[in-house]
Amino acid sequence: MIEIKNLTKTYGGERAVDSLSFSIEDGIVFGFLGANGAGKTTTLKMLVGLAFPDEGTIAIGGGSPSETSTREKIGFAPETPSFYDYLTGYEFLEFSASLSSRGFSRRAAEALLKEVGIFEARGISIRNYSKGMKQRLAFAAAIAHDPQFVFLDEPLDGLDPLGRKHMKGIIRNLKKRGKTVFFSSHILFDAEELCNEIGVIHKGKLLYAGETKRFCDGKRLEEKFVEVVEKQ
């Protein structure tokens, strides 16, 4: 379970994240939605231990992300990922998977590279990868150690329609395997398709957290989202 209580983060006197409180049960695909600059990435950074809250607490599987034992259960793919350019995709995945107690398995890594669709490019330096291939590699690196909680920042951004379909399939598979997936997005069509639950953030404040269907109330997610945000 992911539990966020009163989470607050201030940058330069402005509250980027303002008293966020919500929880996500295990096995849920949770879409964290908001316009650009709403506070999605700041929240994600705090969830995975890259940034520290000014106030409030985060519990992931009962532990704080500041503890390495909690981060063992976490996988994270950043928005516009940057890699060690002179490594190959396979080497990077090997490095990523090895940074866990589970360790690295060649067979598992190859299967994962096939699953995300870059197996053929595994021996090529990452600097020669396209944006979409990098996005796929980031996704693979996030789940290489089989984490219980997967955090993805705009995972479908930069992918072509086939790539998006592919990645959405992997997210569904993660859900089937009981993993909790938390992803931020401003592409609401994808969120509507994938998420059991959503959180809507606007100017750092949480406007809604709960079931997607209940939020939509018979409307399309995008329509309802615009309606709710414009009321603010």
Partner: protein, 252 residues
């Protein structure tokens, strides 16, 4: 320990593939040609000039690699956010710092080693090889270790260019402090005290300079070598400890 080794291996692989080796090899070839040319041109002082240019060249090139490679690598990690794939994992920030240090030091040491091989080959060709040369180069690697530690520490809170400039200041002050302190002491006691204060702030990098002893054939007391080793170990540990303390609080 496993995580430190993985980060070190990854850092080493990335830096070595980043064309650094080509630069080192190109410099090694030019370096040998210059060595032979200069020593042949210095009548009666061939061996001394050969050793002086050889050790000096390796020091200059090795130090440039140490500063620019370390600063560039840390800047890349922080600015390009490659650390986003490392820090959210079951890795402590101290392990990241130590792993980066070890990987960078391995790359720097390999570069110095390649240049040293070229130098030793050239020395042997003239039948001038002396074991003291190895000692001088080993001490250079100790100095590089301390410098890498200092650059990592500076990079945790300074912009890359400022970190490079600050490390050049540390390098210059570190090699001049002993001379400056002696000069200041002669001018006035208060200036001497000030110089003494600065000498505690900056590392005394002259502890690692045994090039002149090798060039002029002076014996190097073993106590000085042991002290240099301990000085490097303590200084590097302190720099990495400070870097870890700053990095632990750093938001990425």
């Amino acid at each position: 320990m496993k995580n430190i080794f993985l980060i070190a291996k990854n850092t080493f692989r990335e830096t070595i593939r980043d064309r650094i080796l080509y630069g080192v090899l190109a410099f090694a070839i030019i370096f040998i040609v210059i060595l032979f040319f200069l020593s042949d041109a210095s009548l009666g002082e061939e061996r001394r000039v050969f050793t002086s240019v050889g050790l000096g060249g390796i020091y200059l090139f090795g130090t440039c690699i140490t500063i620019f490679l370390s600063a560039a690598m840390i800047a890349k990690e922080l600015d390009k956010k490659t650390l986003y794939f490392v820090v959210p994992r079951a890795v402590s920030r101290e392990q990241v710092i130590v792993g980066k240090f070890m990987g960078l030091l391995a790359s720097v040491a390999l570069s110095i080693f390649i240049l040293s091989l070229a130098y030793f080959a050239a020395l042997s060709a003239r039948a001038w090889f002396a074991w003291e040369n190895i000692l001088a180069l080993a001490l250079q690697i100790l100095e590089s270790a301390l410098l890498v530690g200092i650059i990592i520490f500076l990079s945790t809170f300074l912009r890359p260019m400022l970190a490079v400039l600050a490390s050049i200041v540390v390098l210059y002050a570190g090699h001049s402090m002993t001379t400056l302190a002696a000069m200041a002491e002669r001018m006035s006691p208060s200036l001497g005290d000030l110089a003494l204060l600065f000498s505690y702030v900056f590392p005394n990098l002259e502890k690692f300079n045994m090039r002149n002893d090798v060039i002029y054939g002076f014996p190097v007391p073993s106590a000085e070598i042991v002290f240099a080793f301990l000085y490097a170990a303590f200084g590097t540990a302190l720099a990495l400890l400070l870097a870890s303390l700053v990095f632990k609080k750093k938001e990425l």
